[in-house]
């Protein structure tokens, strides 16, 4: 009897009897990166959605008399314009708040669209292999050979620019990394025994793909997502800077940086403020991505 008692005691030490959900909540509570990332992303999203409530001024009203007012902490700044004004005298904080709408919309929208396209192609190509895989790889090579910014410009130019167009065009042009990662991993997982096991208990291809393979790609897809989101936001900025993205006077962080470029050396805050916002968002998305990975992964990372 003593042996069994010992064995049971030893087991009780190792095994925590919690449902996966309870365990996730427990892990989330002790994961600082996740909490910070989630806090920033959620607050930014709320600010973007309820921009009119938060913005102290109308972001489009120009007041040339008050152009280039420095932020409140600099000499000559005032509480009326906490973050100062731009070269047309528009309140910078209000533009930043309204800009969050475009930047986050484009960032999340395009990254999600690219994710759906890339993961689908990657899963199918990796799982089926053979000719389908060759065709998908050919498509990938073509896409990589094209200068994507030029292509985006051309597409936006033809369709006409709007935030929706930007999301669609950038999404369609940013699926390659998802596809490469998904395809390689799918090929590896396809040959593992748990896929054979799933088939031998009667799962069909669709069940194997969605129940066995896809959940195991989650970690890597999240990492690619957080990287791609940053790239897409920067791309939106480039397009806006080139005049085919968001049209002035609409505010976007990318456009704000672009407009301030000429004054970068005299009024650095014009670049630093939207840059810092962008940095904070990308950092938060990365932390959130890593956090979600750590929380949902069955293996406990240290």
């Amino acid at each position: 009897m003593q042996t069994t008692a010992n064995a049971v005691a030893a087991m009780a030490d190792d095994i925590i009897d919690l449902t996966p959900k309870e365990r996730m909540i427990r892990k989330a509570k002790s994961h600082l990166g996740f909490q910070f990332g989630a806090f920033i992303v959620i607050s930014f999203a709320l600010i973007a959605i309820f921009a009119p409530l938060f913005a102290p001024h109308d972001p489009y009203v120009q007041d040339l008399a008050k152009r280039l007012v420095p932020p409140v902490w600099a000499e000559g700044g005032s509480w009326e314009h906490i973050l100062g004004t731009d070269h047309l005298g528009r309140d910078y904080l209000s533009r930043l708040i309204y800009g969050a709408r475009v930047s986050m919309g484009v960032g999340f929208g395009a990254a999600t669209l690219g994710c759906i396209i890339g993961v689908t192609i990657g899963l199918v190509a990796g799982y089926l292999g053979g000719r389908v895989d060759q065709a998908a790889s050919f498509l990938l090579t073509c896409q990589l050979a094209l200068p994507s910014l030029l292509l985006a410009m051309a597409l936006v130019f033809f369709v006409g620019s709007s935030v929706t167009t930007l999301i669609v065009v950038l999404g369609v042009l940013h699926w390659q990394y998802y596809m490469v990662v998904t395809r390689t991993l799918t090929r590896q997982i396809r040959s593992l025994e748990y896929v054979s096991a799933a088939r031998s208990i009667g799962s069909n291809d669709r069940q194997v793909l969605f129940y066995e393979i896809l959940p195991n790609l989650f970690n890597q897809i999240i990492v690619v997502f957080s990287l791609e989101m940053a790239v897409v936001i920067i791309h939106e900025a480039s397009l806006s800077f080139l005049g085919v993205g968001v049209q002035p006077p609409t505010a976007s962080w990318g456009l704000m940086i672009a407009e301030a470029k000429t004054m970068m050396y005299f009024k650095p805050y014009l670049v630093v403020i939207p840059g810092a916002a962008l940095f904070l968002l990308v950092l938060a998305v990365n932390l959130l991505g890593d956090g979600i990975r750590d929380i949902t992964a069955p293996e406990s990372r240290n």
Binding site: T3, A12, S196, G202, N302
Partner: protein
């Protein structure tokens, strides 16, 4: 005179995120020139860490303490990193388990062999090459000169391991550490490599440490043995004393849990040690084996147990005296020892439940991007019947097509010729659902056969969900029942596979396969990834379940000892063809095909000092893409004659239960 290598009270402490872990504690041994020490233990027993500590190859942040750690007159503990690097090249050499990955694929054999010598000894390129050729010949490689310009991928596993050994000899080492040197090799190659190591060691007067989980290997090549458990040496001494008269309950149990051909009646239960190897993160108070030991009593937890002398150099780590320990109390638990009646009362009738009829599977393999595809006959025209209640074992070395055959029988691989009949119907015409209700499988590697993202409960419940059996509550109840039946605690329901040990995972795989009440279970190497003491538990469980549920097993394996233990009929495969079929008893007592004989001969039972039987199969296993003409076995067969090269033999019936394909037998019969 003092020994070449002296290790006294060595402990290795690893730093982990949650604190320190003592992977090896108070390990002592000595090895002299010309002497072989075998270190045996299950995974996680600290045997590899000990050897890495001697080599100074442990990662940063690891602390090695010892009262003595000395090779020749060099103190390995205080040696600087540079000195250690020089020692590793010149005096200590290590042979690793995986010859596929321990040679660098982008350099030629010659470059890898000579580089080390030129670096350490400062000899010219020509001198080094001459020595390399010399040594390659010594390890039995033909056309040694031309091998120097070959790349590792051009050589077979056995040849690579020979190259590895030759490479290690380049600088005349004094000590060779071989960490599982034959585990990754086929059984027929294993004997050759072990003999080679042994001969070289005698000839060159080298000290040899062989580390293995395989009692058979260690018993046959070592002079001294150290049995490790949970980071400690729990028994040590001359190999014949330890194996013939083991003192420690763990050693006793370990030896009894190894299936030895000819000792157990077929279908009888194997002895097994209950429980699991403890995690090294556990805080041990006293004896580390106590929670699995049948003789446990109050003194066991009273503090660390020291090594006790048991006479003639034998020592053990237990609180009891040798006389008390040898009183005949069984070292295995009563439940696990069973009553040996599993095989009885099973109704074997003659109707085949699963049949392969002239089944073949040919893959088209492209060797280069532009070369034409070549056919690879993985399975060539095999007919096989599986009758209700039977346990049919398919044996053969890697590359013989046994796994492809299993996949075909499971309906996961479509045969390119012939057909598979399941319960009277062609399997190709059955839906996934119909097929999986009758036919299930257990896979080899419990680490990759369970989806890491699903909980144990989800994994076992999945077949019920797919087949729409009952509602969630009923499914849950069924899962609970079967988990209890296969010996998994209910609390594992919400655990993920990575929190379980190998043996527990294999129990999960068994539960998943049996929850639909199938008729036939295909087991692909069900125990080859498990530790010896756990292997016996799983084999017993399979046998019990067969008796209870009236299952029919198809067992795919390379382990002849396991075959003899649980199979009723054996099919021997070689290069995609069946070379011999017989009931288990006949096959083991009267093997007729030369290949079967060689396979049986290569089984290493733990007999101290018996040496390794030389299995003379000449060349390596042929590449299945270019199979030899006629009888595919002829290049390796000592009896081969002209007819063997010209014509392939067919399966001849020697008796109602025995068939073999060999020209010699045809002549005999004529």
């Amino acid at each position: 005179m003092t020994a070449l290598l002296e290790v006294q009270d060595m402990s290795v402490t690893l730093k982990l995120a949650e604190g320190e872990m003592t992977a090896v504690q108070d390990v002592s041994f000595t090895v002299d020139r010309g002497e072989t020490l075998g270190i045996v233990g299950e995974s996680g027993s600290g045997k590899s860490v000990s050897s890495m500590a001697i080599m100074g190859l442990l990662p940063r942040g690891t602390r090695t303490d010892a009262t003595t750690l000395r090779l020749g007159d060099v103190d390995l503990l205080s040696a600087s990193e540079d000195e250690m690097a020089r020692m590793r090249g010149n005096k200590i050499a290590m042979i690793f388990q995986e010859p596929m990955t321990s040679l660098n694929p982008v350099y030629t054999i010659g470059r890898q062999m000579t580089e080390l010598m030129q670096l350490h000894k400062g000899v010219s390129g020509a001198q080094a090459r001459a020595r390399a050729v010399d040594l390659l010949e010594k390890v039995g490689i033909t056309a040694a000169e031309s091998r120097l310009s070959q790349y590792p991928h051009q050589l077979s596993g056995g040849l690579r391991q020979r190259v590895m050994i030759a490479m290690m000899l380049m600088n005349d080492p004094e000590l060779i550490i071989a960490d599982e040197p034959t585990t990754a090799l086929d059984v027929t190659i294993q004997a050759q490599i072990l003999n080679l190591l042994k001969d070289l060691q005698k000839e060159l007067n080298i000290a040899l440490i062989i580390i293995s989980h395989d009692m058979g290997v260690v018993a046959r090549v070592s002079d001294k043995i150290a049995v490790m458990y949970a980071g400690q040496v729990i028994e040590t001494g001359p190999v014949s004393d330890v194996l013939h008269a083991p003192v420690h309950p763990y050693t006793q149990g370990l030896l009894e849990s190894i299936p030895v051909p000819g000792q157990i009646e077929p279908g009888g239960a194997l002895g097994s040690i209950p429980g699991l190897v403890p995690s090294l993160k556990t805080r041990f108070k006293g004896c580390r084996f106590a929670n699995r030991c049948q003789r446990v009593h109050d003194n066991c937890q009273q503090g660390p147990v020291a090594l006790q002398e048991a006479g003639s150099g034998q020592a053990y780590r237990c609180v009891l005296t040798p006389a008390q320990l040898r009183d005949g109390t069984p070292s295995l638990s009563a439940r696990d020892a069973g009553d040996g009646s599993y095989g009885k009362g099973i109704n074997m009738d003659a109707s085949p439940v699963l049949q392969a009829i002239d089944a073949g599977c040919t893959f088209q393999v492209k060797q280069g991007m532009f070369s034409a595809a070549k056919p690879l006959r993985a399975v060539d025209n095999i007919s096989l019947d599986l009758r209700k209640g039977e346990v049919v074992a398919v044996v053969g070395e890697s590359g013989c097509g046994k796994s492809t055959l299993a996949r075909m029988l499971l309906g996961l691989q479509e045969p390119t010729a012939g057909k598979i009949i399941l319960g009277g119907q062609d399997i190709a015409g059955l839906s996934d659902m119909e097929r999986s209700r009758k036919l299930q499988s257990i896979f080899q590697d419990p680490y990759s056969s369970l989806n890491p993202r699903r909980t144990i409960g989800e994994i076992i419940r999945r077949p019920l969900h797919l087949h729409g059996v009952g509602n969630v509550a009923e499914q849950r109840a069924k899962v609970d029942t079967i988990m209890e039946r296969v010996g998994l605690p209910r609390s594992f329901y919400y655990n993920y596979p990575n929190q379980l040990s190998g043996g527990q995972r294999q129990r999960v795989a068994i539960a998943r396969a049996l929850i639909l009440n199938p008729e036939i279970v295909v087991c692909d190497e069900p125990t080859s990834a498990l530790d010896v003491s756990v292997q016996a538990q799983i084999l017993n469980l399979l046998l019990e379940l067969r008796a209870e549920m009236g299952l029919t097993y198809l067992l795919i394996t390379h382990d002849m000892a396991v075959v003899e233990h649980i199979a009723t009929r054996v099919v021997v495969m070689y290069l995609g063809r069946v070379v011999e079929v017989a009931d288990t008893h006949t096959l083991f007592s009267n093997p007729r095909h030369p290949y079967t004989k060689a396979l049986l001969k290569s089984v290493l039972t733990p007999e101290p000092g018996a040496g390794v039987p030389s299995v003379d199969l000449g060349t390596a296993y042929p590449n299945p893409i270019n199979p030899p003409s006629g009888c595919t076995f002829h290049p390796r067969c000592e009896f081969a004659s002209d007819i063997c090269k010209a014509k392939a033999p067919v399966l001849e019936s020697l008796s109602t239960t025995h068939q073999s394909a060999c020209h010699m037998l045809e002549e005999e019969m004529a």
